[in-house]
Amino acid sequence: MIQTLIKNSMRAMRVSMLGMALVSTVPCTGQALPRTQPGEDDAKLDAKVSFSVESGSVGQVAAELSKQTGISIAAASSIQDRKLTFEAAGITVRQALDALAETYDCRWYRRQPGQYVVDRMLFRTPTDSTAIPALMQAALPVDIRIFAALPDLKSKKPDERTSDMAVNKIGQTPWRAIYRFRSSLTGVFTKQDALEMRDLSPLQRDDLVTWMVFASFRNTMELLHDDYAPHKMDMKQLTLHIEQASMLMIKTTPDAKPGFGFGTQIFDADGRPVP
């Protein structure tokens, strides 16, 4: 059954990849693609700018750069609402754009002469599964990577905190938000049965999205910390064992600490197989 499902979804993937290939001219490298360098034909990129965007957004910085230089600089919709403070004191537009790109691991490129865009990196399906965790990490916003205590992508320096601590911290994150969010809704739903998103306060929206992102983040964290990454496992070392008389567990490494592995209940309380 699983082979059929995988085969069908691989077919669907091939179709969608074909569609992506048709609309994109960027070659498939299996890596996060590097920043596209802008053309050298727009001297205004070397114009010096000074501005102050306090508790603003990437979109506001782009608008300020456009205003001061007369060239069109826009932030892609996926990045324009990221909040920041940017104090620029006599730097070139190019330096400002590079600083944004370096801070957020994103890219800027020339869409056409006089038109520039700040955007996220572009990703392609990797051909080598060992590249998956690093690519997933690169796809995460930089602050989430730091929050999740992931190793630095460039230096590969591992975080001193253990993955367990990081996974637990991520596990706790949504609950504060969920609790506050649920509490804030109780009064509302005593009066009506539906609530549109535009009626939520910014804090409620933030709590809701935090809940959505982090409530199911555990598996992503495990992959990013290589805890259960299939390419790290040696089939010759995998073991099966039963815990608490009812859980069939797959232990991924023979010297793993107790409980480090995964499994499911196969017997109920009366010792009967769980269907």
């Binding site: 699983i2 499902l5 995988i6 691989m10 669907a12 992506m20 102050s52 508790s55 996926s78 909040k83 920041l84 403070t85 940017f86 104090e87 620029a88 004191a89 006599g90 730097i91 400002a96 600083a99 944004l100 370096e102 801070t103 996220r120 392609r124 399906t125 998956i132 997933m136 916003p141 602050d143 929050f147 994150t173 969920i178 739903f189 539906a194 549109e196 998103m197 535009r198 929206r205 935090t210 959505m212 199911s216 983040f217 598996n219 992503t220 992959l223 259960y228 299939p230 089939m235 010759k236 995998l238 099966l240 064992h241 039963i242 008389a245 069939l248 797959i250 232990k251 499911t264 197989p273």
Partner: protein, 271 residues
Amino acid sequence: MYNALLRLMKWPAVVTVGLTVAMHVPAAAQNRGELKGSVRLNQPVEIKFKQSAMAAILRDLSQRYGVSVIADGVPLLQSADLEFRGSLREALDRIADTFDYTITIRKTGIVSMMKRFKNPEERPQVIPAEMRQTATDMLTILPVFPYDVDEPPLWARMIRQLAPQLTPEQIDGMKQGKTLMIADLAPKFQQMMAEIIQLRAYGVTRSMWEQLYRQLDRFDSSILRARKRGVFTFADNGKSTASYAVMHETRSGGGAVTATTLGEFQREVKP
């Protein structure tokens, strides 16, 4: 003679090493030092702020000392007192530490500040459009597996399918604390185990990102709905309470609805 020649040949190497060291001393000092781009990081600065926001402190520093700074997000600590006399670099470190940030100084001298999350109450930014694009990218990177958000997940159901195929001796042995090497099992078990591992690692992760994509796609037009689950009447006082599930509902372009349960609440109703 030969040895004497060899000794002589070593001299240029010694001279070269000496020159290299001599040339690198000032360069190394400059690297530590303090000039990055056009910003002199070791210039003396004096800052004195009372209950000021980080953004205001950075603006003042930028205007007075010509340093450019990008700081991600808004710190949880809204304002702080800060009084300091020392180098610009030290001042930046002090500000970062106060507001729970780390700093990176770029080659151009522009300073990047990112939250370090030492304060457990600090959270990263979660912006619907950015997280939606992140989900799209994750779905591009991760291998394709069927969308599965059921409980138990498919990999767990497969383990339950596999278990009855083990012999009673194998099960009893494991119940007594023995372990089975998967490599010793029949090839069909090994194949199934490989699929379970792939599903557990990539399938569940992919389904999570797919669910997030569905939730955040058309997020602005999504709704929260309270769905009645049932009504309970208390025997002692005759009061009735209705139980509701709060659902988040998103409708895709094709009309498919993704509904996620957020939680339950009760409210009193007329019997």
